[in-house]
Structure formats: structure tokens, C-alpha cells
């Protein structure tokens, strides 16, 4: 665990420098932008937002994972439960950063925050955006943001506390309670994850809307979260912890990653095909920008997104043997994490930066967030037993076979 901490600390240190250097380079390149902030600053805001939304989502997915497996009375996953619990360590800091970036970025991130955009008679007036004023106004928006983070944080803490008390005292009472807590959390999460996707990602393209978007963002978070849990489990296993974790547990996690990669593709395609087929200008503009807009800047990414997030996991993890081999799972889980980070890049960058986005600042910021996430996650992981020893299903998990 100490190695993990040192490694992630080194991560942060090393990549701060990378990001710092990148900012320097960006500063030199900033040329225009009288109305907006300089390009490097807009890029920084956009990349902070992108990486933060990505890691915050993964963080919440840890608790969703625990909650789903609790209400389903699932026994096999007890072996990785503590990893999923530890993921939620990032919810609170991530939420604070989200708020800070939201206030600091002004209208650089969200077009609907432009001065006077909702006031008739103003030079910036936009009737369509003004029509969304009831939902997209700062008070309600920030209120929702705080409420969502608070809900996710509260239920993560509650589930974690119940599990820790169970470690100390034993008995099935804590587990019984955590079923109720999980069920409540899942209902709330279903609503909050969907609305947070509209708020944090879809409202960037303020004119545009898609009814599939909540699911789309959730699918991306969820499959990344599973890949994260899988990678952490493999890392711990190879470092000599989690002795009872065997190929059967990894097989099941691999199945989940395989299945939800397909699920993500299904949602992605459902959104794409309806918009493509109906070809309504106000909807199609979203894919116009991404497929050929800005001199084809995002075209390669558009197709690469599908290859790395669908074709690659689908073809590689199809056989049973691949899902039971650590090296295959490692490669695919890493690819899925990078792929879905790029997926969020695709959702956020064209709307905020148009053609000005790059990769150096963005990757640097992503790595800083990765370092921060790993730091808090490994710290929380080291605070309790890696296996909830008094969980009623722990025996079942040890003897799990697929």
C-alpha cells in the first residue's frame, strides 16, 4: 500500500511538472480571444472540467457498484467490495473542484452563462437559451450540483461506515441495513446521474439536447468504474494482497467490462442513429461538429472512440480464456479507461473550445487528476481490511467459481 501511495505521489509530482510545462507552451500559443479568456486558460478550464467529471463519475460508480451488489444479494463481489468503497474517496474533493471550476470559468465553459444571453434586448440575447432559464440558472444549477454531490457523498459514507462497523462487531444486522441504504441510493442515483449528465456535460452544447444523454454518460462512467476496480484488484493481487481473489473473480469483472462496453456502444449507437436518420439540423449539429467540423479536427477521434471502446474490448475479451488472463484484462481495462476519458473529451471539447483543443494540457490535467484520485483512493484502501471479514457472504466469495 505504501508503494501505491508513493507511486501516486510521484505521479502527482511528475505530472504537475508536465502540466506546468504544457501551460507554458499554451501561453506562448495564445493569440486571440478578446471576449473570451486566453486560449490556454480556456483549455485549462475545459480540461479540468473534463477530467473532473470523468473521475467524479468513476468515484460515484464505486458506490453504485457496492449498492447494486448489495441489493442483488451478490456474494462473489465481496472480494473487491473494499476497492469499490475506496473509489468514493474522490467524491468530496472532486465535487469541491467541480464547484470551484464552475465559478472560476464563467462563460468560458458554459455558453448559457454569457452576460445578457437570457435578457431580451441584449446584444447577446438568445431566445432558445432564454427559454431554458428555468432550469439553467446559476442558483438552481449550483443547488443541484451541491445536492448531487451531497447525496453521493452521504450514501457512500453511510455504506462504508456500515461495512466498517460490521468488520468490528460482526453479525448480519449491518448488512440488512445496508440493503435499505443501497436501495435508496440506487433510486436517487438513477435520477441524479441522469440530471448531472445534462447539467455538467449536455448543457455545454446549450442549444442541443438528446434524451439518450443521461444513459450515455452513465454507461461511460460505469464501464470506466468497472475497469478501474478491475485494474486495482489486479494491482493488489500482483502486489501480494487479496490472496483469495482468483481467476473466477477476475473473470466476472471481465464479463462486466465486456458487457458494459457493448452496452455503451448500444447507447452510443441509439443516440447516433436516431439523430443521423432524422437529420434535424438542431440535433445533427452535434455530430456535424464531431464528424467533420473544425476542418475535420475530431474526425479521427470520433472513429477511434468507437474502436477503442467497442471493437477492441469486444474482440479481445470475447473468449473465456481472455477474461481469465491477467495480462489481457490489464490491456483492455487500460484501453477502456483511456477510451472513455477520450469519450468525455469528445463530449466536452468541441462545445467549449471548438477547434482550439489540444492534447498536452489535457493529458497533463488528466494525469494530475489520476494522481489525486489514486492518492485518496489508496489512502482509503489502506485504512481498513482489504476484505470485509465479517460480511455474511465473504465465505461464498472465497469459494466463487464460474
Amino acid at each position: 500500500m505504501a508503494i501505491g501511495l508513493i507511486m501516486s505521489a510521484m505521479n502527482i509530482g511528475g505530472h504537475h511538472e508536465v502540466a506546468g510545462a504544457a501551460h507554458g507552451a499554451g501561453q506562448g500559443a495564445s493569440a486571440h480571444g478578446s471576449e473570451h479568456a486566453p486560449i490556454w486558460l480556456r483549455r485549462l478550464f475545459a480540461s479540468l472540467w473534463q477530467s473532473n467529471v470523468f473521475f467524479l463519475g468513476i468515484s460515484a460508480v464505486g458506490t453504485v457498484f457496492v449498492a447494486i451488489h448489495t441489493v442483488a444479494y451478490a456474494g462473489w463481489s465481496i472480494m473487491v467490495r473494499r476497492i469499490a468503497e475506496a473509489f468514493s474517496a474522490w467524491i468530496l474533493p472532486g465535487g469541491v473542484i467541480l464547484l470551484l471550476v464552475f465559478f472560476a470559468s464563467g462563460h468560458n465553459l458554459f455558453h448559457w452563462r454569457t452576460e445578457g444571453i437570457m435578457e431580451p434586448g441584449s446584444a447577446n440575447y438568445d431566445a432558445i437559451i432564454a427559454g431554458k432559464a428555468g432550469f439553467l440558472n446559476i442558483g438552481f444549477y449550483v443547488g443541484r450540483m451541491v445536492a448531487f454531490i451531497a447525496i453521493w457523498w452521504f450514501f457512500s459514507k453511510r455504506l462504508r461506515d456500515l461495512s466498517l462497523q460490521e468488520d468490528q462487531l460482526g453479525g448480519t444486522g449491518f448488512w440488512d441495513k445496508s440493503i435499505n441504504v443501497s436501495a435508496m441510493f440506487l433510486v436517487l442515483y438513477a435520477v441524479t446521474s441522469s440530471i448531472s449528465a445534462w447539467d455538467w456535460v449536455m448543457s455545454i452544447d446549450t442549444h442541443w439536447f438528446s434524451t439518450m444523454f443521461g444513459w450515455y454518460v452513465f454507461a461511460s462512467w460505469w464501464v470506466s468504474g468497472i475497469a478501474g476496480i478491475l485494474l486495482t484488484a489486479i494491482y493488489l493481487k500482483q502486489a501480494g494482497y487479496l490472496r483469495f481473489l482468483n481467476a473466477n473473480h477476475l473473470h466476472d469483472l471481465g464479463k462486466l467490462m465486456f458487457g458494459f462496453s457493448i452496452f455503451w456502444t448500444y447507447v452510443w449507437f441509439s443516440q447516433f442513429m436516431l439523430i443521423w436518420y432524422a437529420n434535424l439540423p438542431e440535433e445533427a449539429v452535434y455530430f456535424n461538429q464531431r464528424l467533420g467540423g473544425f476542418d475535420g479536427k475530431y474526425t479521427w477521434l470520433f472513429f477511434f472512440n468507437l474502436i477503442i471502446n467497442f471493437a477492441f474490448p469486444f474482440l479481445v475479451l470475447m473468449t473465456r480464456d481472455a477474461k481469465r488472463q491477467i495480462i489481457m484484462l490489464k490491456i483492455v481495462a487500460t484501453a477502456v479507461l483511456i477510451g472513455h476519458w477520450l469519450d468525455f473529451y469528445m463530449m466536452i471539447m468541441p462545445g467549449t473550445l471548438q477547434g482550439d483543443s489540444g492534447f498536452i494540457i489535457e493529458i497533463g490535467t488528466g494525469l494530475v487528476f489520476l494522481g489525486g484520485f489514486l492518492l485518496l483512493m489508496t489512502k482509503r484502501l489502506s485504512q481498513a481490511s482489504l476484505v470485509p471479514v465479517n460480511h455474511p457472504f465473504v465465505e461464498e466469495s472465497v469459494h466463487h467459481t464460474t
Binding site: 442513429m273 436518420y277 437529420n279
Partner: protein, 174 residues
């Protein structure tokens, strides 16, 4: 053709699993084991190889996919081109749903047909039952009795591994 079997009746699945291992370790070939419900780990204990059905399924799926794409491209692109929604005659995104469905259809039917064929199953087939209690609460291990097999030794082996009774049965197969 008539064959004779020694039937070891077991009451408990754990006892059965250990018995399978010990009987195989003693060099006796087990014909089959009948249980009222699927027992975890019994495939490994019996040394049954994994089915290669998934590989066949992959190729059935590939066939379905190719067929669906060929069908749509040929029909809508060459045989009877129609303009639908102002899209090109051959527009891949609109072919995906049908391609997906036909992949699944070919895959499922191919798998079911292959499974029935290789398992020798067919409708209204008469299944010989070794011991009717294996459909209720008992586990039955069947060992084929070849000529010269010592029934006494076998009984001893099964008994010592937890069989509650050992019977002998003749089965006639067409």
C-alpha cells in the same frame, strides 16, 4: 445392445464430489453422474473438457453478419435502389439494426441446432433413466461394467467413498 452398470447412490453433493475424485484416482472410468440439479465444480471433477460450442457460435454470428450486410447492400444498393430519407443507397448506420438482429438469429439457431446434433438429442427421444430418484433427491454415479469387472471391489470402493447403496442395472439402448 444391452450394457450393465454399477450405480452408486449418494445423498450429498460434497460427498459425491470427493467420491468422484477418489473413484477416478483409483483408475475406474465413470460412465456418467446424474444429479437433480447442476452441481458446481462437477465438470472439473469428472474431467469433462470445455465445450467448443462458443467457437461455433462465433462463426455462426459471423455468417449472420455477412449475410445481413450482403442482403441489404445487394437489395438496397444494386437490385432495387430506393432513396430513403435522402440518404445514399448504401448507408451503413441504417443497416446496423438488421445486421445485429440477423447475427443474433443465426448465432442462436446455429448453436441450438449444433448442440442438439452433437448431443444426439431429438424431439420425442426416449431417455433411459438409471434411477428415478436422481430426478428427486439422490445423486447417481454410473460405472459401466465390462466383462471381468469385479463387482465386489467396485461396491467396496463406492461404499468406502460414501455411497449409501450400490445397485446393478441393465440398460438397453437402441
Amino acid at each position: 445392445m444391452t450394457k450393465r452398470y454399477a450405480l452408486g447412490i449418494f445423498e450429498d453433493e460434497d460427498v459425491l464430489l470427493h467420491a468422484i475424485e477418489n473413484v477416478r484416482a483409483a483408475g475406474v472410468k465413470i460412465y456418467d453422474v446424474f444429479s437433480p440439479y447442476p452441481v458446481h465444480g462437477i465438470d472439473d471433477a469428472l474431467g469433462i473438457e470445455r465445450s467448443r460450442l462458443p467457437i461455433a457460435a462465433f462463426f455462426y454470428g459471423l455468417c449472420g453478419l455477412s449475410f445481413a450486410l450482403w442482403m441489404q447492400i445487394y437489395m438496397l444498393g444494386f437490385d432495387w435502389p430506393m432513396i430513403i430519407g435522402g440518404k445514399p443507397h448504401i448507408s451503413l448506420p441504417s443497416f446496423i439494426p438488421v445486421a445485429f438482429e440477423l447475427t443474433v438469429l443465426f448465432c442462436c439457431h446455429g448453436m441450438v441446432i449444433t448442440f442438439y446434433t452433437i448431443s444426439g438429442l431429438y424431439p420425442r427421444m426416449k431417455v433411459p433413466v438409471m434411477d428415478v430418484r436422481s430426478t428427486d433427491d439422490k445423486f447417481v454415479m454410473a460405472i459401466e461394467l465390462k466383462e471381468g469387472t469385479d463387482m465386489g471391489n467396485l461396491t467396496q470402493l463406492l461404499r468406502s467413498n460414501g455411497a449409501s447403496e450400490v445397485n446393478e442395472k441393465e440398460m438397453t439402448k437402441e
